[in-house]
């Protein structure tokens, strides 16, 4: 698991990576820079993933295979494991700077998800 997170945190601009239980929002594994509160990231990412899953289900787009939240001072990027079904699965999560290369982080998140799930 640590090796999988390594791949993500090596991308420039990534401040931390985690594996999170989608069901209860608890941390499974983490590699975070100082100042990032792992339990808060895990809980919030899982909660947002659940609401997004329901909205996407209603829209007929199926469950998400990757999503990212863009904000003024950073971004949260998530790949729900288990074929996109985040309910009861694992979320691979990255916290990044606002100017991070989203495409690269996405690739590494997908690779990490394939490796650990």
């Amino acid at each position: 698991m640590s090796a999988a997170l390594d791949l993500i945190t090596r991308v420039r601009g990534v401040r931390g990576a985690m594996l999170v239980s989608a069901e209860d929002g608890l941390v499974i594994a983490e590699q975070l820079m100082e100042g990032i509160k792992g339990p808060a990231v895990a809980a919030l990412a899982a909660s947002l993933a659940g609401k997004l899953r329901r909205a996407m289900g209603a829209a007929g787009t199926g469950t998400s295979v990757f999503w990212h939240l863009q904000a003024e001072q950073g971004a949260l990027l998530v790949v729900p494991g288990g074929g996109g079904n985040s309910e009861g699965g694992i979320l691979v999560v990255a916290v990044a700077e606002p100017d991070v290369n989203i495409g690269l982080v996405r690739l590494e998140l997908l690779r990490a998800a394939a490796a650990v799930i």
Partner: protein, 282 residues
Amino acid sequence: MSDDIRALSAQLAQDPQSLVFLRLGEALRRKGQLDAALRVAVNGLERHPHLADAHDLYARVLTDKRDYERAFDEWDMAVRIAPNHTGALKGLAFLYFKVGDLTQAESHLEAARKVEPDDPSIDQAIAMMRKGSAPPAPSATVDSPTVASSTVASSTVASSALDETRVFAGLEGANEGLLLIDGAGRVLGGALKDGGGTDVTDAVAAYLAGVSQEAARTAKLLGLGAWNGLSAEGQQGNVHLAHPTPDALLLVVRERGMPLGRLSILAQRATAMARRWLEQHG
């Protein structure tokens, strides 16, 4: 098979990890052997997924095959990996021109000119575009049939003009893939249909307020500042959520084939239209 292609194929067979696939793929493309070029590009990408030149090669082959959607995706990825990749910048400019977005087309050519100020082909492309002709596709072969007519481009631009009575009038998918709601979840404009054609506008609107509140809470508690967009790739479609004003939410939904980068561009346009409409009707 020509000698150069034979030699390059032999080199690649000896060392499958080498970057000679770039030259082989381009040679095949120039010879018009597009299916073979495509196979070489895809195999190369599988071995070098983070190589911008590999995405660029794949995009050029796709452009020659007139698969512009996927070509856009690949050039978009090349620029994400290497922001100064002039081949990809010129490719994106060409595709933006084809869909009538002259501002983005010129912006990408200007970005390419900053990287390679001595490249006369970039100045030529900008001049051609300003006259209403399509800039050439990057490294296009003589017989590459990839020139868009200025008439098509102009009409696309004209059709995007804002209609006073409808929020997204003129925008692609205005009645089935765009939705504007207020803070209470009331639908202000647009509509959504699922893959089966069923209207899901109200059902989705009911969920969006919750997603927005959770996005705002997440960004705030993680010290990321205000959130300005949420993009998601789904198994059957992609979505982008934005807020044109603090009290309104905009959702754009498109089929899975539309890359997130392009969806984001479409969302920006829709956001600007929604903002104008809200200012006029708010």
